[in-house]
Symmetry: C2
Subunit: 714 residues, 2 copies
C-alpha cells in the first residue's frame, strides 16, 4: 500500500490508496466540508469518496450515501459527524473492511460519564475489527508523502513529524513552521488515544524516511513501558524533542514511602526523557525551533562553540546563554587567531567571541572568510553567528548593497556545507527577508533571539552526547533479573498473612539474598536471646521493635541505640516491649531486632516506587534534610544500566559531599551504584514489592551498608 | 529650555532648542550623514546647524565651518567625526558654551591603552566645562517629546524609556517595539559612560511625564550606590525592568571570607534588583514585552489569575507557566460560575481555567460576555486569555466573520477599560492583523507565546507586590548607623600594628559593643589565668589560640573543645601553645581564648563583603555544607530594613530547617534578623571593615549566639 516504502500496520493511516470522508458536505463551516476540502486541495494521490446520506455530488466529487456503497476497497475513513452518529458509521466501516479511521468528532471521554461510555463502545468496536483509529476529539492527520491533509489545518509540507495531544497546539506549531519555511512530514493529533497510542506512532516514525525529527507534545503517556521501548529505537536513528505539559503537582495518591511521595509525575517523566535521550524544551516555539534545527543539522560532536559578533552586546548575551546551557567557549588557538587577524581589522577581537568590530560593515565578505577559518579549526564543534543584520546593511548604507547581501549569504551557505559542523545564526528581529530566506534554505537556521539560537545549539549537543553515550555503553550488560527462592517465600508468607508491608527482618533477608549489604541482624524472641545475639554481633548494639502493626518504630519508642552491655540490652528489651504495647495494644510483637551499631557513614536514601505508566522508578538522594527539606534527589526508570546509576548519583546537588568536603571522608560511589543496580534487579523480579525505602544507607570510604529498610507490598 | 516641562541639567540632551551636528555630511554611509538625516527626518522642533569645515549647504541646510561660527547659542552638539578630531571639536563646543554633547565616535577606552588616554582627556574637558556627555562609542539618543532622533536608528515614538550599554541591542529593542506598535519616549545608548551615568539618566526619567516605564540593559553600573538611590525614587513612580548581562563568574578577586567568595558580581546585582523592586528579565524580547505591558497596564493588586481558553492544550501550558512564576489560579466562586454558565455552552468549563470548548466559535460575542463576568469578580486580580485566533475565525468559517471579529475586539477593549485590572492575551502566532492591532491599541497586550503573556502578568504582579511592600514598610525605622568608641579603638590599634585582620577577641569585643550576642569569652595570657577564667565562665569550655599570624586556628591545632576540668584546661593550654609554635615559629601568641561550650543550635552564617559598586553586601545562609556545597545563601545590600532582613532569611532553600524539621527545634528568626541589622549598622559605621564572617552563629529556639567571628580590614 501507499507511496512510501515503509511497511507498517499504520500505512492505512499514513499511506492509504483510497480515502472516504464520512459526513462530507457542501456546506462551509461544517467539519465535513473542511476535511474534504483540505484533502482535495492537498492533492491527495489516491481516490477520494465523499460519503453523505443524500448522495449526489459534493465539492465536485460523486458522493455515496454509505461507505458500504463505495465500489472497491477503502483504506481510510475520515469521520466528521456528530458523536451520536459515529458508532453506526464505524460499524459500517468495519463491515466494509476499512482498517484506518480518523474521527475528529468531540463529545467523548473528555465530556463526562456519558461520553466515556460512548468512547468505550467505540474502542471495543475498533479492537474487535482490528482497525487503527486516530482520535476521537482531534484535528486529524497530515501525511506529506501521499499529499494527504486529513486535518483542519492548512497544509505545510516538510520533514518534521509531530504527535500532539492538543489539536490547538498543532495550529501553533503549524503557524511557526510555516513562518520558518518548514513543515510536517506527518502530523498526528492524537485526541483521546482511544485507538493508536504513542508507541505505535513512534514505531512508525522510526523507519519513516520522510521524517527527520520527531516532535512530541505530551500531556500523559498511556503504556509508558512500550513508549520507552519505542523511543529507545527511534532515538538511535533520529532525534526526538518533547514538550511535556502538566508540570503541576501529581494528584492525590496514597503513598507510604519517601520515594513515593517525591516521585511526582513530572519528575518521573523528566527521568524517562533523560534516560532515553529525548531532548526536552519548555515552550512551543522551542519545540519548533529545536525540531527545525535538528532536522537540518548534524548533532554536535562536542561542546566547544565559537561566537561571532559585531559588538559586545550580543556577545555578552550569547556567552550568558551558552554558560546556562552547559556549552563551552574555548579561546581559539594562536594559529586560528592569526588567520582571523589577516581578514579582520585591527580593532577586531579574535579570541572567542570573535568580534568584527566594524569589519563586516567595511567588507561584507569578511563573513564568509571568518566562517571558513573557524570551521576549519578541528578544535571547534559548533559556530554561532550573533547580531547579523542582513537586509539592514543595504537599508543603512544604500540599496546598492542589496545584491552583495544576497551573494554573501549564498556563499556563506556554500562554505558551511563543506564542513559537518552545525552553524546557527542569530539575526536582528527584522522579520523575513531575502537573505534570511537564502540562509534558511541553505542550511543555516536563523533565529531572532540569541537565546533561541543557543538553546538550539545545546539541543544538538545533548543529542550528540546521547549518541556518544549509547555507543560507549553498548557493551554494558543489562542488570540481571531473577526471582530468588527466599525472597519469594517471604513475600508469599506476608501476602498469606494479609500484610501490606514487610517486617524489617524480612526486608533485610531479601536484601541479603540479592547481595545488598545490610550488616548483621538477629531477631530475638526473648530477653535471653537478645543478650546472646548482642554478644554474637558485638557491642555496642541497636535494638528495634519488629511488629507488623508498627511501621514507624521511633514514634512507638521502639528503637534503642548504642547499648553497651548485657544489662543495657535487657533494659532496652523490656522498655521497647512496654512502649510497643502502650503504643498499640493490638500490636503483635515478632521480637526485637539486634544489630551491631554501624559506624556512621554518609547517609543516603535509595528507594523505589511504581509509577502508573512507567513502572518501577528508582530514587537516589542524600539522607535526612537533603531529601526531606531540599528534595535533592534523582530518578531513573528500571531497568537501569550501570551508566544510568552512576549518572543519578552524580547529578544530585549534594554530590560534592560524596566526594568529601571539609576534610570529611568521601563516600564509595561504586558501592552505591552496586546497591542501585541490585535494587533494580530485585524490584524487576518481584512485582509484588510496590514501594521500597532503604533509608538510611550508610556510605563509607569503602563500602556501604543498609541501616533501615522498608518494603511495601501492593 | 525645551518643550517638556521637566527641568533638569539633562534638558540640554533631551529638550534642546538648538542642535548642531559636527561632521554633518552630504555623503551617504557616513555617520555625519545619517545623524543629520535622522534629526531632520524626525522633525526636530528646534533649530539644526550642520557643522563641516567646508561650509556650504548640507542636506538642504546652511552649514558652518565651525560650531563657533553658528549665530546664537547651541544647546546640544552631536558629534560623528573620527576619534582623533573629536577633542578639538569638544573644546570648540566648550568655547561656544555648548552644554550638551553626544559623541557616537568609537575608538576610546574599548580599544586599548591609547584609546583610554583619549577618553580620559575627553572626560577631563567635559568635567572642566560642566558639559553633559552621552558616549562616546554609542549610537546616540532619541527624545520623542521634541521629535529629536539623534541616533543611527529609525525613529519609533512611544512612552518607553530605554537606557542601554550596547548600541546593537538598542536596534533589537527598536525593531521589537516597532513590531508591537510601541516606541521610545527617550532612548539613551550610553556608550563608555565617560560623562553621564545611569543614576543621572534615572533621575531625569523619574519626573519625565513622557516616560511610563524605564528599561535598562546593564553590563556594569558605575556608582552603584547612587544608582540605588536614584532607582528607589523612580520605582515609586514608574516601573523599571532590567536585562542584566554578564552572568559569568566574577573575575579573580582576592577574598578572605566565605562571604566574599560567594558574593559574585551577578548575585550582588540580583540582590540589588530585588531589594529595589526592579523587575528582572532574561532576554531582550522579555525586556520589551514587560516594558510595553507595564507602560499600558496597572500593576496587579494580588496574584489571583483567571485563564480563559478554547481547549485544554493552551490551558495546560498557561497553568504550568503561572505556577512557575508564582501566580495563583483560584477556582471561581459559585456565583461567577453560574453567571458564566448562562453565557457558555453545556460542555464549557467554568472553574478556572474557563474553557469555551467551542462556545466562541459558535458565538464570538461570548468573548466579551465572559470577560465582563470575570472582571466583575472581586476575587480576581488579573485575566489571561489564551489561544485566541482572531483573524483565523474568518479564515476558517468564512470572510463574512471579518467585521464581527473587528466589532468583538473593539467591544472587548471597551469592557476591559471599565475595570482597573490587567488583561493580557495570548494569540496563535498569526503575525499582525487588524483585530490584533485593535486589541493592542485598545489596552490589551497580545503575545504569540503563552509563556510570554504569563511572564508579563508576573512582572505586573512583582511590581504590584513591591509597591504594597514599600507602603507597608514606610513606617520602618532605618537601621541606626553610629560609630562606637571601643570599636574605633580596636580598629585603629590593628591598623597601627599593620594588621589586615582582627583577632577573634577583638572581633567579638566589637560585636559585643554593637549588641550582637557572642557569649562569654576571656583571653588567658597564662595557664593559671586559663583555669581561673574557665571556672568563671563555667565548664565545659573551649580553648582557642589567639594570634595575629594564625587565621585558620583548627589547621594549626589551635582549638580544643569540651574541656571538663582544670587539668584538661591546663593540658589544652600547653598543647595549643606547642602546636601554634610548631605551625608557625614566628607566630606571636596573644593568649588563649577561653569560652563556655555553647549548646549546639542550628548553624548559620552571617557575613559581609564590600562590592566595588554597591558597597557593603550582607550574606545569610545555613552553615556548613549548606553554604559550602549547596551555596544556599541570600544577599542584600546595606542599608537593610527589617523587612529586607526577614526576606533574606526566608528566601534560602533550607529555610524549613529554621522552622524545625523531623521533630528538631526551630530557630529564632527574629534573633537572626536582629544580628543582621546590627551587622548592617556596624559595617556602615566602620568602613575599615572590608569583610566579615560570623561563622558559625548558633541559633536556638530562643536567641542566637556568635561562636566564631572573623573581620578583615582593608
Amino acid at each position: 500500500m501507499g507511496a512510501s516504502g515503509n511497511q507498517s500496520e499504520l500505512d492505512v493511516i499514513f499511506n492509504p490508496n483510497v480515502v472516504a470522508v464520512i459526513g462530507a458536505s457542501n456546506q462551509r463551516g461544517k467539519w465535513g466540508y473542511m476535511l474534504l476540502e483540505h484533502i482535495i486541495q492537498g492533492g491527495f494521490k489516491g481516490a477520494i469518496y465523499p460519503i453523505n446520506p443524500k448522495g449526489g455530488e459534493i465539492q465536485g466529487l460523486k458522493a455515496y450515501p454509505n461507505i458500504k456503497d463505495v465500489p472497491g476497497a477503502v483504506d481510510l475513513a475520515v469521520i466528521g459527524i456528530p458523536a451520536p452518529l459515529v458508532q453506526q458509521a464505524v460499524e459500517d466501516c468495519a463491515a466494509k473492511g476499512v482498517k484506518g479511521l480518523i474521527i475528529v468528532t468531540a463529545g467523548y471521554g473528555e465530556t463526562g460519564p456519558e461520553g466515556r461510555k460512548l468512547e468505550e463502545q467505540l474502542g471495543k468496536t475498533v479492537r474487535e475489527h482490528n482497525m487503527k483509529l486516530v482520535g476521537p476529539n482531534c484535528v486529524g492527520i497530515v501525511s506529506t508523502a501521499v499529499n494527504l491533509n486529513a486535518s483542519s489545518l492548512p497544509f505545510v509540507k516538510g520533514n518534521i513529524g509531530f504527535i500532539t495531544q492538543s489539536g490547538n497546539l498543532s495550529e501553533d506549531v503549524r503557524l511557526l513552521l510555516q513562518q520558518r519555511g518548514w513543515g510536517f512530514s506527518r502530523l498526528v493529533s492524537m485526541g483521546n488515544q482511544t485507538g493508536i497510542r504513542f508507541h505505535e506512532y513512534l514505531e512508525y516514525f522510526k523507519d519513516d524516511p520522510e521524517t527527520k525529527v520527531v516532535l512530541l507534545h505530551i500531556e500523559e503517556v498511556k503504556d509508558g513501558r512500550k513508549f520507552m521501548e519505542a523511543v529507545r529505537e527511534v532515538v538511535k536513528k533520529k532525534p526526538i524533542v518533547v514538550l511535556k505539559v502538566g508540570q503541576t503537582k501529581a494528584g492525590a495518591r496514597a503513598v507510604m514511602s519517601h520515594t513515593g511521595s517525591l516521585a511526582g509525575n513530572f519528575q518521573v517523566y523528566q527521568a524517562a526523557f533523560k534516560q532515553l535521550g529525548i531532548v526536552t524544551c519548555s515552550d512551543v516555539a522551542d519545540l519548533v525551533d529545536f525540531g527545525g534545527t535538528m532536522a537540518q543539522l548534524p548533532p554536535l560532536k562536542g561542546k566547544r562553540i565559537v561566537i561571532l559578533t559585531d559588538g559586545g552586546g550580543h556577545a555578552a548575551l550569547a556567552s550568558d546563554a551558552l554558560e546556562k546551557c552547559g556549552l563551552e567557549m574555548p579561546v581559539l588557538s594562536a594559529e586560528t587567531q592569526q588567520k582571523l587577524r589577516a581578514v579582520l581589522m585591527p580593532q577586531s577581537q579574535t579570541g572567542n567571541p570573535v568580534d568584527f568590530a566594524g569589519a563586516a560593515e567595511y567588507d561584507l565578505w569578511t563573513y564568509t572568510k571568518v566562517t571558513e577559518i573557524i570551521l576549519q579549526d578541528k578544535d571547534v564543534d559548533g559556530f554561532l553567528i550573533t547580531g547579523a543584520l542582513f537586509g539592514l546593511y543595504s537599508q543603512a548604507f544604500g540599496p546598492e548593497l542589496k545584491n552583495l547581501e544576497l551573494d554573501v549569504t549564498r556563499e556563506l551557505c556554500k562554505v558551511v556545507k563543506k564542513y559537518d559542523k552545525p552553524v546557527i545564526m542569530h539575526h536582528l528581529p527584522v522579520g523575513e527577508n531575502e537573505p534570511i530566506k537564502i540562509l534558511r534554505e541553505g542550511g543555516i537556521p536563523v533565529y531572532f533571539k540569541v537565546e533561541t539560537a543557543v538553546r538550539c545549539m545545546a539541543a544538538l549537543a545533548d543529542y550528540g552526547a546521547y549518541l556518544e553515550k549509547i555507543k560507549a555503553r553498548a557493551a554494558e550488560k543489562p542488570v540481571e533479573v531473577s526471582r530468588k527462592p527466599k525472597t519469594s517465600q517471604i513475600i508469599d508468607k506476608a501476602k498469606a498473612d494479609g500484610r501490606t508491608s514487610l517486617l524489617e527482618t524480612e526486608a533485610k533477608e531479601i536484601l541479603k539474598e540479592y547481595g545488598i549489604p545490610v550488616g548483621e541482624f538477629r531477631l530475638a524472641k526473648t530477653k535471653q536471646e537478645a543478650v546472646k545475639f548482642a554478644k554474637e554481633v558485638g557491642y555496642p548494639v541497636a535494638a528495634k521493635i519488629v511488629s507488623p502493626q508498627i511501621v514507624h518504630k521511633s514514634d512507638a519508642g521502639g528503637v534503642k541505640l548504642n547499648l553497651k552491655d548485657a544489662s543495657e540490652v535487657k533494659k532496652a528489651f523490656d522498655e521497647i516491649t512496654r512502649n510497643a504495647r502502650a503504643y498499640n495494644k493490638e500490636a503483635q510483637i515478632e521480637g526485637i531486632l539486634i544489630s551491631p551499631m554501624e559506624k556512621k557513614g554518609i547517609e543516603v536514601i535509595i528507594g523505589m516506587t511504581r509509577d502508573r505508566q512507567f513502572g518501577p522508578v528508582i530514587m537516589f538522594g542524600l539522607g535526612g534534610i537533603f531529601v526531606e527539606v531540599l528534595k535533592d534527589v534523582s530518578f531513573r526508570i528500571v531497568p537501569l544500566t550501570r551508566g544510568d546509576a552512576e549518572e543519578m548519583v552524580k547529578e544530585i546537588k549534594g554530590y560534592p559531599i560524596l566526594q568529601g568536603v571539609r576534610g570529611a571522608d568521601s563516600g564509595d560511589v561504586e558501592a552505591i551504584v552496586d546497591i542501585i543496580l541490585k535494587v533494580s534487579s530485585l524490584v524487576s523480579a518481584n512485582e509484588a514489592i510496590s514501594e521500597l525505602d532503604l533509608n538510611p544507607v550508610f556510605v563509607f570510604k569503602k563500602g556501604a551498608s543498609v541501616v533501615d529498610a522498608r518494603m511495601i507490598l501492593g
